[in-house]
């Protein structure tokens, strides 16, 4: 499928900007670039530092450094972590899959639940159930995800002892993994559902007075079938747009949930890197997340294209 060049150009610009930012940050920040590039766990004598400086190419002209930085990135070389004693790229890859196990089912479930409940709430706003769901999702929507995680973990983990407090996947047993994942996935699902709920509800409220809704009614549709056969598709367009914009935020939310539940994914990796000031890992994770956000944006353009015939025709 072909997209307007403008949009692709913006993605390329965003990527370019983020990579450049990542390149210049350690070199422009206060402190020795060697430390900024290698992390504060790198300890060596003066001579060794100079040797490393030479190896990192910090004495070469900045443009040459910049070019080789790009070259490394294209080979997925994000540097080496002295704190974890591992290559950043392999660290990220090993952690990413746990984050995906948390994020992927939650996003799908959250989108379905949020869109359904939200569209019902916008369509029949008078019912008691909808008032309740509105207040419930509003509460989730207004709370930081890590706080909800702490609350539920305290209640279900501490008080009721239903779920483990620490989330390392020691045994690899499926039941064990599910037990560890249940609460985080629940919270992430609610988190993503609350946002979709709010958007869908607002969107349906806007759509419901449009003329095509009256026309559908005039053709003999009953209320529920108007919602699902006519309004839903139109109202879901803003949800799709928002999904792209939201992806980075949802992903960040997942990081916080991971930290609380000590799941061994990207969030915990970032948390550990912050505590040990492991700059290469922080930069590598930032790049990875940015890249995923751009991909998510591209994919949602695709879905949008597929649903809205007007966009399809304008390409």
């Amino acid at each position: 499928m072909v997209f307007p060049a403008k949009k692709v150009l913006r993605y390329i610009f965003a990527l370019f900007f983020i990579v450049s930012l990542n390149f210049f940050l350690p070199r422009a920040m206060p402190g020795d670039p060697v430390i900024n590039l290698l992390g504060e766990d790198f300890i060596a004598g003066k001579e060794a530092v100079e040797k490393i400086r030479e190896e990192l190419g910090l004495n070469r002209p900045i443009l040459v450094q910049y070019a080789s930085y790009w070259k490394n990135l294209l080979r997925f070389d994000f540097g080496y972590s002295y704190h974890f004693r591992a290559r950043v790229s392999s660290l990220i890859i090993s952690r990413l899959k746990w984050t995906f196990i948390l994020v992927a089912p939650s996003l799908i479930l959250g989108t379905i639940i949020g869109a359904l409940a939200g569209s019902l709430a916008g369509w029949k706003r008078k019912s008691k159930g909808n008032t309740f769901s509105f207040l419930f999702f509003l509460f989730i929507y207004c709370s930081p995800p890590f706080f909800i995680s702490l609350l539920l973990l305290y209640f279900f983990g501490f008080r009721l002892g239903l779920f483990p407090l620490k989330g390392f996947y020691t045994t690899g047993n499926w039941i064990d993994i599910l037990k560890h994942l249940f609460l985080p996935v629940l919270i992430m699902t609610l988190f993503s559902a609350s946002r979709n709920y709010m958007v869908m509800r607002g969107s349906v409220l806007q759509e419901k007075e449009k003329l095509y809704v009256w026309y559908a009614r005039a053709k003999g549709h009953l209320e529920d079938s108007i919602l699902f056969q006519h309004v839903f598709k139109n109202a879901s367009l803003p949800v799709i747009t928002l999904f792209a914009l939201d992806f980075g935020f949802l992903f960040s939310g997942a990081l916080f949930i991971e930290i609380v539940f000590s799941l061994n994914g990207m969030g915990t990796l970032i948390y550990q890197s912050i505590l040990s000031r492991d700059y290469p890992v922080l930069q590598g994770t930032f790049l990875t997340i940015s890249f995923m956000v751009i991909i998510a944006n591209y994919l949602t353009d695709w879905i949008y294209n597929w649903i809205d015939p007007r966009v399809r025709a304008n390409r």
Partner: protein
């Protein structure tokens, strides 16, 4: 027996500015296979009558009176029965066809919808039916037209698609709400002819709502003139164009291009404030003291009814 009898219909909208009395004490009758044209300026309550018949009014509307359609009072039947009448026995053609059609579904999907709703036909078959309906409405390539989307069509084409859909299940009553608004002259003629031809073939009745007198003249049997939510004259079409009796009707005819294009001075009254006496008196050249304070009734004269003291 008549197909539709409306009696003492009152519609009031509650708004932030106050209560809007959009329809005041309107009674009317549509006979089998006849066309009644409801004419008047924009905002006089014509469309509200159409929406009341189908019970398609927003929540802030209050309806009173009775609307008897084939022996049933539509204001009393339950919502499910009403839904089974809509689109099947009474079909409406909206003004603004491009907004009435759903932007994200194909024309074929939407035109064939009545078959799916009322006859449980499946999707493919309903699209086959819409090909038939569209070819009937003189679409050049109906097979490809059903795959198009409303935004790819002109207003006139969308209008014809709406007409096609309205005729799908041979309704007894077709309500056409400003079917020609925003179209150019040659297209209006063509669409009106197609509409009338289709009505005759299905032997349906029609309620035509328009502010275009030429359209009303070409296809209607009866004319009902509305002013500020009230009926001011009800008359056979031929008589109306020969000798309009109500001063407002006379004004309407004088404002036609062929009669010199003399607009009626002044503006219609606000529907929120209560104007005493005849609603038209501030703009009427024959207004006398009585008109200011006393509301004229509908006075029968031969086959017509006129709301004016001149004919008392």
């Amino acid at each position: 027996m008549s197909l539709l009898t409306v009696e003492r219909l009152n519609v009031v909208f509650t708004t932030y500015q106050g209560k809007v009395k959009a329809v005041k004490n309107v009674s009317m009758t549509i006979n089998y296979q006849e066309t009644l044209a409801l004419i008047g300026e924009t905002g006089c309550g014509k469309s509200v009558i159409a929406q009341s018949i189908l019970r398609l009014l927003p929540n802030n509307a209050q309806i009173n009176g009775s609307i008897i359609f084939q022996g049933r009072d539509l204001l009393l039947v339950d919502e499910k029965t009403m839904a089974s009448i809509r689109g099947k026995e009474i079909a409406i053609i909206f003004q603004n066809p491009s907004l009435a059609l759903n932007p994200v579904y194909s024309i074929g999907w939407q035109v064939g919808e009545p078959f799916r709703i009322h006859q449980g036909v499946d999707r493919n078959q309903s699209i086959q039916e819409s090909v038939r309906l569209l070819s009937y409405m003189k679409f050049d390539k109906p097979e490809s037209a059903v795959k198009m989307y409303p935004f790819e069509f002109s207003g006139g084409m969308n209008q014809r698609a709406l007409i096609a859909s309205a005729l799908a299940l041979h309704p007894n009553l077709i309500i056409a709400d400003e079917p020609t608004q925003g179209l150019d002259r040659t297209l209006i003629k063509q669409i009106i002819e197609q509409l009338d031809r289709a009505r005759k073939i299905h032997s349906s009745s029609m309620l035509l709502i328009t502010h275009d007198l030429t359209v009303a003249r070409s296809i209607s049997d009866w004319i009902m003139v509305m002013y500020a939510g009230e009926i001011v004259e009800q008359v056979p079409t031929l008589d109306f164009f020969q000798s309009p009796m109500h001063p407002y009707s006379q004004g309407l005819l004088r404002s036609l291009p062929e009669n010199g294009f003399h607009p009626i001075p002044g503006q219609s009254p606000s529907m929120i404030e209560n104007l005493s006496g005849c609603q038209f008196h501030p703009r009427c050249q024959w207004a006398r003291e009585q008109c200011r304070w006393e509301k004229p009734g509908l006075f029968p004269i031969n086959r017509r009814m006129v709301r004016c003291f001149l004919y008392d």
